[in-house]
C-alpha cells in the first residue's frame, strides 16, 4: 500500500479499534469527565434470544387490582419523559384541554431511567407543578442496555418513590426491536394498572426509525386513553378532543445530560 494510504488507513484502524474497545464499557470517566461510548460493541454481541439480561425480574403485579372508577374531577397533569413526548404531549394536551385538566410537560432529551433516578429533577418538578396525575414515557433509550435489572432497577424504584402516592401511568417505549428487559423492569416496579405496554403496537416511524411520526404518536396516545378506563388503576376523564393537538400550559425542555 502506498505510504499516504497506509498512514491514513492506520489512523482509521487505530481509531476504530480504540472506540470499539471503549464501547465495551457503558461510559468512561476521565478526571471527573464522563465520556460516552458508542454502541458498537453491544450491536455486535447482543443475542436476540435474551429477553432480560442480568438478574431476572419477578413480575409479581397482581392483575386483579381494584380499579377505581373514572375520576371526573379536573386534574393537574404532569407529563415527563424523553423525546417521545414530542409526539405524545401535544395529543395529551388536547385531551387535557377538552376535559378541563391543566397540563405541564417536561421533556428531557435522550434521558433514561438512571438520568432521572440519580437526581431529584422529578421531585423538583412535582414540587413546582403540584400535579394530581403524572404521565411518564421513558425507556426508549434503554431498549438495548445489557444487565438492565442490575443497572437500572434502583433508578426506576427511585423515580417511582419520588412520585409517591400521586396516581401515575407509565407509558412503555415504542419498541422497534426486542428490548433487553426495560419493559419487564418497569412492569415489575410499577403499581398494578400503572404501566401501559407499548411493545407490540405498530407505529409509522419518522426517518430516524425510532420515533413514531406525529400522526402515529397521536394514535399511540389515543390507544393509551382507550386502554385506561378498563385497565388503568386510576382512570381519569379523557373524552375525545375536538382538536387534534394542543399546547400544554408549559413545556420545559432539558438538554441531554453529558
Amino acid at each position: 500500500m502506498k505510504r499516504g494510504y497506509l498512514g491514513l488507513w492506520s489512523i482509521l484502524v487505530l481509531t476504530f479499534l480504540l472506540f470499539i474497545t471503549a464501547s465495551s464499557f457503558d461510559s468512561i470517566n476521565i478526571c471527573g469527565l464522563e465520556l460516552k461510548t458508542s454502541g458498537m460493541y453491544d450491536r455486535l454481541i447482543q443475542v436476540d434470544e435474551v429477553k432480560v439480561s442480568g438478574d431476572t425480574v419477578q413480575i409479581d403485579n397482581d392483575d386483579t387490582f381494584k380499579r377505581q372508577p373514572v375520576d371526573t374531577t379536573a386534574q393537574n397533569i404532569l407529563f415527563i419523559g424523553d423525546s417521545m413526548l414530542e409526539g405524545l404531549s401535544p395529543r395529551l394536551a388536547a385531551y387535557a384541554k377538552e376535559n378541563g385538566h391543566k397540563m405541564n410537560t417536561v421533556i428531557w432529551y435522550s434521558s433514561t431511567s438512571n438520568v432521572w433516578g440519580e437526581c431529584d429533577t422529578l421531585k423538583t418538578f412535582i414540587r413546582r407543578f403540584k400535579p394530581t396525575y403524572v404521565f411518564i414515557c421513558l425507556g426508549a433509550n434503554e431498549l438495548f442496555v445489557k444487565d438492565i435489572v442490575k443497572k437500572r432497577d434502583k433508578y426506576v424504584k427511585t423515580m417511582l418513590s419520588q412520585i409517591g402516592d400521586i396516581p401515575y401511568l407509565w407509558i412503555g417505549p415504542p419498541n422497534w426491536k426486542e428490548d433487553t428487559g426495560i419493559n419487564d423492569l418497569i412492569a415489575a416496579n410499577a403499581k398494578p394498572g400503572c404501566f401501559f405496554l407499548s411493545n407490540g403496537m405498530h407505529f409509522d416511524r419518522a426517518k430516524d426509525g425510532a420515533h413514531p411520526t406525529r400522526s402515529s404518536a397521536v394514535q399511540w396516545m389515543d390507544s393509551v386513553v382507550r386502554w385506561m378506563p378498563e385497565n388503568c388503576a386510576h382512570p381519569i376523564r379523557l373524552n375525545i378532543p375536538q382538536e387534534k393537538t394542543a399546547k400544554p400550559q408549559r413545556v420545559v425542555v432539558l438538554q441531554p445530560k453529558r
Binding site: Y5, L8, V47
Partner: protein
C-alpha cells in the same frame, strides 16, 4: 457469546435495513471503508480491476440504503449507455434527438413514478373530490441525484461535450460512484469521466486534504447539525408552543442546521472522493455571506443550481429572449428546482418564491448598481437576503402551511426580550454551537485553506488525536440515534 452470534449480528448489520441507511457519519460506513481502502490502494493502478471493485462497493453501498433498488440503477445505467453508444453512431439529427428523448423520458418516468406519483394522484383526487388511497411506493435513496447525472450525460453526449464511455462499466462507475451517489454533489460527466480515464494516483497531500474535509464534514453534520436539530425540531413540531423569541431562534437554528447538514455531507463526499484520487466540484461556498439572492444561488448547492442553469434555464431560452422571458425562465427553473426537492406544494412554493426573489433582484439590478457599494449598503443587502432566505426555510421545513404561518406569526406577535436570558441559560450548548457555526461562516476562506494546509503537514500523531477527539465529540453529542441526512429524502 459465541462467534456465530457475532457473525449473525454482523450479517444483520450488513443487510439492507430501510430504517438504517448507510451514511458517511455512521460507524458501519467507516468499518467498511477500512476494509475498502487497502484493496482499493492495491488495485488503484490496475484500472479495470479498480473500476470493478469500486462499482461493486458502490452497488453494495446503494443496496444497504435502498435494497433491491440498486438493480434499478444498474438497468437505468445500461439503457443510458446503450442509447449513448447508438446516438454517436447515428447520422440523422432526428434519430439522435429520439435517442436523447428516449433516455430522458425513461429517466424522468422512473423518477416521476417513485417520487411524484402519489403527489399527482393526491392532487387529482383533490380536484375530482375522489377518495385518495396512496400507492405503496418506496422512494429509492438518491434517485433525484443520479437521474440528473444521467440526463446531463446523455445531453452532453448529444451536444458533443463529452464522448460516450467505451464500456458500460465506466459509465456505471460514473453513475454509481458511491461518494456522490445518494446525496451529491451532482457529478458532471465532462468533469468526471476524464479523471476516470486518467486514473491518477492521489498525492499524499491530497489524501490528507480529503481526510481534513471529512473531519470538517463530520463536525458540521454529525456534531453541529445533529445537535442543534434537537431544539429546532421541537419548535417546528409545536409551532405555537413557544415564545416568539424561541421560535425565532428555531428558525435561525434551522437555517444553520440545513447548511451544516448538507454542506457537511458534501464535504465528506468530496473528501472521500479526493482520498480515492477523484476531484468533485465544490457544492457550497459560504452561501450565507451572500448579499443578494443571485449570489446566494451561486454559492448554495452549486452542483444543482449549475445543473438547472445548464440543462433547464439555458435550454428554455435563458436571458436571450427578452426581459420578460428571462424572468419567466428564471421563475420556472426555480419552480422545478423546488419540486426536485420533494413532492409537495411547500417545496414548489419555496422554489417559486426564490424565483420571484431572483426576478426582483434582476429587475432592480440597474437601480441597485447606481447605489455606492459602501459598508452600510452591503450590510443592508446582506440583512435583507438572509432574512428572505431564512423565512423561506420555514416553509421548506414546517409540516404544513398552517405550521409555517403560525411560526412566523408567533415570532411577530409573541416576542418578548424577557425570554432571552432564560434561553441563554437553559440552551447554552445550543447557543455555543450556533456561535461556532456563525463565526466559522464569517472566517475568510484563506483561514480554512491555511488550517487545511497545517493539518496536512502535521505529523501522524496529531492527525490521529484530532480525529479521535472529533469522533468522541460525535458520540458525546449524539442523540438517541444517528440523525438522518436531510437531503436523503430528495
Amino acid at each position: 457469546m459465541q462467534l456465530q452470534d457475532i457473525f449473525s449480528n454482523l450479517m444483520e448489520l450488513l443487510s439492507y435495513d430501510a430504517t438504517a441507511p448507510m451514511i458517511f457519519s455512521s460507524g458501519l460506513f467507516w468499518f467498511l471503508f477500512i476494509l475498502f481502502m487497502p484493496i482499493y490502494a492495491v488495485l488503484k493502478n490496475r484500472r479495470w480491476q479498480m473500476l470493478v471493485f469500486v462499482v461493486a462497493f458502490s452497488l453494495y453501498f446503494y443496496y444497504k440504503s435502498s435494497g433491491l433498488f440498486f438493480l434499478l440503477l444498474v438497468c437505468t445505467s445500461l439503457l443510458d449507455w446503450i442509447l449513448s453508444r447508438v446516438l454517436v453512431k447515428l447520422d440523422s439529427k432526428g434519430a439522435k434527438k429520439a435517442c436523447v428523448a428516449a433516455s430522458i423520458i425513461t429517466s424522468l418516468s422512473i423518477l416521476g413514478y417513485f417520487k411524484y406519483a402519489n403527489f399527482f394522484l393526491w392532487n387529482w383526487n383533490q380536484m375530482v373530490e375522489g377518495n385518495f388511497q396512496p400507492l405503496d411506493i418506496i422512494l429509492p435513496v438518491g434517485i433525484s441525484f443520479y437521474t440528473f447525472q444521467s440526463i446531463s450525460y446523455i445531453v452532453d453526449v448529444y451536444k458533443g461535450r463529452v464522448a460516450p464511455t467505451r464500456t458500460w462499466l465506466e459509465y456505471l462507475f460514473f453513475l454509481s460512484f458511491f461518494p456522490a451517489l445518494v446525496a451529491g454533489p451532482i457529478v458532471r460527466a465532462d468533469y468526471f469521466l476524464p479523471q476516470v480515464e486518467q486514473n491518477s494516483r492521489p498525492k499524499r497531500e491530497e489524501i490528507y486534504l480529503g481526510f481534513w474535509m471529512i473531519i470538517l464534514g463530520i463536525i458540521k453534520k454529525a456534531i453541529i447539525a445533529d445537535y442543534i436539530s434537537q431544539y429546532n425540531d421541537l419548535i417546528f413540531s409545536s409551532p405555537t408552543g413557544y415564545s416568539g423569541f424561541e421560535s425565532l431562534m428555531g428558525v435561525i437554528g434551522y437555517t444553520m442546521q440545513i447548511y451544516c447538514d448538507f454542506s457537511g455531507y458534501s464535504d465528506m463526499a468530496i473528501g472521500i472522493a479526493l482520498i480515492m484520487g477523484f476531484k468533485l466540484s465544490p457544492n457550497f461556498n459560504f452561501p450565507y455571506k451572500s448579499k443578494n439572492l443571485t449570489e446566494f444561488w451561486r454559492r448554495w448547492h452549486i452542483s444543482l443550481s449549475s445543473w438547472l442553469r445548464d440543462y433547464l434555464y439555458i435550454p428554455l431560452g435563458g436571458n436571450r429572449k427578452g426581459t420578460i422571458r428571462t424572468y419567466v425562465n428564471n421563475f420556472l427553473t426555480m419552480l422545478i428546482g423546488g419540486l426536485w426537492h420533494g413532492a409537495a406544494w411547500k417545496f414548489v412554493f419555496w422554489g417559486g418564491m426564490h424565483g420571484v426573489g431572483l426576478a426582483v433582484h434582476k429587475a432592480s439590478k440597474p437601480l441597485l448598481d447606481k447605489i455606492p457599494n459602501i459598508y452600510p449598503v452591503k450590510l443592508l443587502s446582506w440583512t435583507v437576503t438572509i432574512i428572505y432566505v431564512s423565512l423561506l426555510w420555514v416553509f421548506f421545513r414546517a409540516e404544513s402551511w398552517t405550521d409555517s404561518w403560525l411560526i412566523i406569526k408567533n415570532i411577530f406577535t409573541n416576542f418578548s426580550v424577557a425570554h432571552i436570558a432564560a434561553f441563554l441559560e437553559v440552551r447554552y450548548v445550543w447557543c455555543i454551537m450556533m456561535a461556532v457555526i456563525i463565526l466559522s461562516h464569517a472566517m475568510p476562506r484563506r483561514w480554512y485553506d491555511k488550517m487545511g494546509e497545517m493539518f496536512v503537514n502535521s505529523n501522524w500523531l496529531i492527525k490521529t488525536l484530532i480525529f479521535i477527539i472529533v469522533v468522541q465529540f460525535v458520540i458525546q453529542f449524539m442523540s438517541e440515534d444517528v440523525a438522518p441526512f436531510i437531503y436523503f429524502q430528495f
